[in-house]
Amino acid sequence: MDLIERYLQAVKFWLPKNQQDDITAELSEDLRAQIEERESKLGRKLNEMEVESLLRQRGSPIMVANGYLPQRQLIGPLLFPIYTFVLKVVTLCILIPAVVGWIAAIVSFTLRNATNAAWSPPFAAIAGHLWTGWFSALGVVTLVFAILERSPAKTQILETWNPRKLPPLRPANAIPRSGSAIEIAVYLCVLTWWIGNMASLANLRVGNVHFVLAPGWTLFYWSILLITLAGAAISLANLLRPWWTAPRIAARLGLDVVGSVFFCWLFKANLLVGIWWPSATPDKAAFVVAQVNVWLARSFPYAILICLIIAGINAWRFVRILRKSGPPPLHAAVV
């Protein structure tokens, strides 16, 4: 019965010191009673496999010991929803500045690279800081909540609330200000990059590769610039007046349509008329230009499909917003 002794010893390890002997004595007695009953039914001693199977049915030692231990948790069910909410907020607070910093580094890198400055953005360092910062923040939040869980302040926080201080009803057509702020930041980054890199047709180059574009590029350049500016203007309006209105929805959808048209036109316009790199021969360059334009033209139907899907999703989203944001609730009218 070495197995039983080892099992009891393993259970004992996890038990509180002052109860170890008492609990294992009772457990031992119960096991022996069960074994004796089986043996009398079988008319023989149980073999090791049968004892092993019996112990397996009882459960792992830590599981058995856990039944005797008081229920303990780092963060209890009452605080857990608040804890996960705070974790999400903290993650966003760390992630958003890091992503904006990253985009700024890319833009800066592109601009400096154009002037051949020997500088490369510290992507690895940013990623490292982001990782350690995020982990440290999660650790601190978890620690604070674990302390709160064990302090009398917990019940005070959960019980002292005032129905009048609940947040006001959020209309269905509300636009989160954080979303608008992120949109503006992205638009500004795109504008900086677009104006800094795409304005000069004569010197359009990526690394050592020079591109010669058709005059139609001017139209494309200004269209994209105006569309981006209009998008930023709508986001700014959304930031200042954070709810969707029919004119603004129409403007956003219109902008999507215009942007899609220009995007699709790019595939058919044969804008690339020449390309040059240090080891290029005229024949090779002409071949590459032809291939690029052929493949762009072939991708045209897919570009239309993508634009239609995006427009469809946005249209559906706005239809739902308009449907949900019907008349104000009755009690709001009374107030």
């Binding site: 609990i23 004595a25 009772e26 119960d30 009673a33 009882r58 459960g59 058995v64 039944g67 005797y68």
Partner: protein, 126 residues
């Protein structure tokens, strides 16, 4: 809902339902003195299957609440821990049984009302 999901949901709900009755069953069975193994067997014979991992911690919890008393005693040449209902436990059991009867009556009324709801509502309306 697939048959497997339905079966699993039913099993979970049954488990929840039985868990609430275990205390009552254990207190009721310990009106006469028993040790753990025989208590578990007697309960199982009455259709109240309870595994050791649940029974023994429950016995200790009830004892720490002064609802049970226990003592180690030699029985059939072996030391066994015998449990029985304490005077305080007897009072609590009485109240719990009254509560159980009240719950049972309420549940029966609710489920019967639910089964014949529309007729009763109509007759009440008339």
């Amino acid at each position: 809902m697939s048959p497997e999901t339905q079966s699993s949901t039913l099993e979970n709900l049954k488990l929840e339902l039985r868990r609430g009755c275990l205390v009552l069953a254990v207190l009721g069975a310990l009106r006469s003195e028993r040790y753990g193994y025989t208590l578990r067997k007697d309960l199982a014979d009455q259709g109240m299957v309870i595994d050791e991992g649940t029974l023994y911690p429950l016995l200790r919890r009830l004892e720490s609440q002064n609802l049970l008393s226990s003592e180690w005693r030699e029985h059939e040449k072996r030391n066994k821990r015998f449990y029985r209902l304490s005077p305080e436990g007897k009072q609590i059991l009485k109240q719990l049984l009254a509560e159980w009867d009240s719950l049972d009556a309420s549940l029966r009324a609710v489920t019967t009302e639910h089964a014949h709801g529309p007729h009763r509502t109509l007759s009440a309306g008339r």
